[in-house]
Amino acid sequence: MLNYNQALPKDTLIQDLQMKEIKPIMKLIIRGKKREFISAIGKSLNILLPTEANTSTQSDKLTAVWLSPDEWMIYSNEPVDENTNNYDTEEILNNNISKLNLGAVTDVTDQFVMINLKGNKIFELFQTGSPFNFNDFQNKKGAVTQTILHKIDIIVHNQDKNMVNLFVRRSFSQHLFSWMNDAASRL
C-alpha cells in the first residue's frame, strides 16, 4: 500500500538551516554487474550511471547516485504524481533490465524519505554526528556518500552549494529529523 503520508512533522528553519521533506520522490535501487546492464540503463533512461565511487550523474528528470560498484539509486528530480505508484521509469527498467535478466530493479520510493537541506551550516550539522570527513565532500558538487548520522544509515547527495539531499529509511526518519532539529539549534 502506498505510504504518502508526511513522514516528518513539519519543515523547519533553524539558524539559517532549512530542512524539509520532499515527497513523493520516485526512488529506485538498481543492481547489475554486466556491461550490457550499464549500457541498457543509459539507452533506456538517457542517463549515464556513475562508475566512479561516491559520485552522481543527472539528467533533466532523473539523478543517479553511486552506492556500490554494482548498485545505484535513481531518483526523480521533481515530485511525482501522488495518485499512483506506477512510474514510467520503473516500467521501462522492468522491461529493459529485469525481464532480460541484466540486473535487478527495486522500487524503494516508500522505503526512503528524502530530506532537503539548505543553508550554509549543513556540514557543521553533519559534523556533530557523523564520522565521515566532509571537508572535500562539501566542495564537490554531485558528491555522494553513504555513512552514519547519529548512528543512523544515511545517503547524502551534495546537490549544489549549500543544498544537500539526505535519504534515510522511513522508520528512522522521524527520530533523525528530531535529532537534526535539536543539533541545529545548538550550532
Binding site: 565511487a53 564520522p131 556518500t145 552514519i148
Partner: protein, 91 residues
C-alpha cells in the same frame, strides 16, 4: 578507533565497518568424508594471533561490500587491504 580504506569507497572511520572473522578459510571439498573433529576444526576453530592476522571486513554502513585486511592485532596497524578473491599482498 582507526581509519580503514575501503577498496571501493575510500577512507572511512572504523565505526562504519564490521569485522567478519578470519579470512582465507577454505570449505572442504567433500564435507561428508571428514571426521567430526576435522569438521569442527573447519567450522569453529579460529586462530587468535597476537600479530599479523588476515581478516575479512564488511563496509556495513557504506557500500556493504566484503574485503580482506591484513592487520597487526597488537597495535591495530593495517598492513594491507585487498578485494575478495585477490591474493594477499603479504605472505
Amino acid at each position: 578507533m582507526f581509519i580503514i580504506t575501503c577498496p571501493f569507497c575510500g577512507e572511512r572511520e572504523q565505526s562504519e565497518f564490521k569485522a567478519g572473522g578470519e579470512a582465507h578459510i577454505v570449505r572442504p571439498k567433500q564435507p561428508t568424508e571428514l571426521s567430526d573433529d576435522e569438521w569442527a576444526e573447519y567450522l569453529f576453530m579460529r586462530k587468535n594471533i597476537k600479530g599479523i592476522q588476515f581478516e575479512r571486513w564488511n563496509h556495513t554502513h557504506g557500500c556493504r561490500k566484503w574485503f580482506n585486511m591484513v592487520r597487526d592485532t597488537s597495535n591495530d596497524e593495517i598492513k594491507a587491504i585487498y578485494k575478495m578473491g585477490e591474493k594477499p599482498p603479504i605472505e
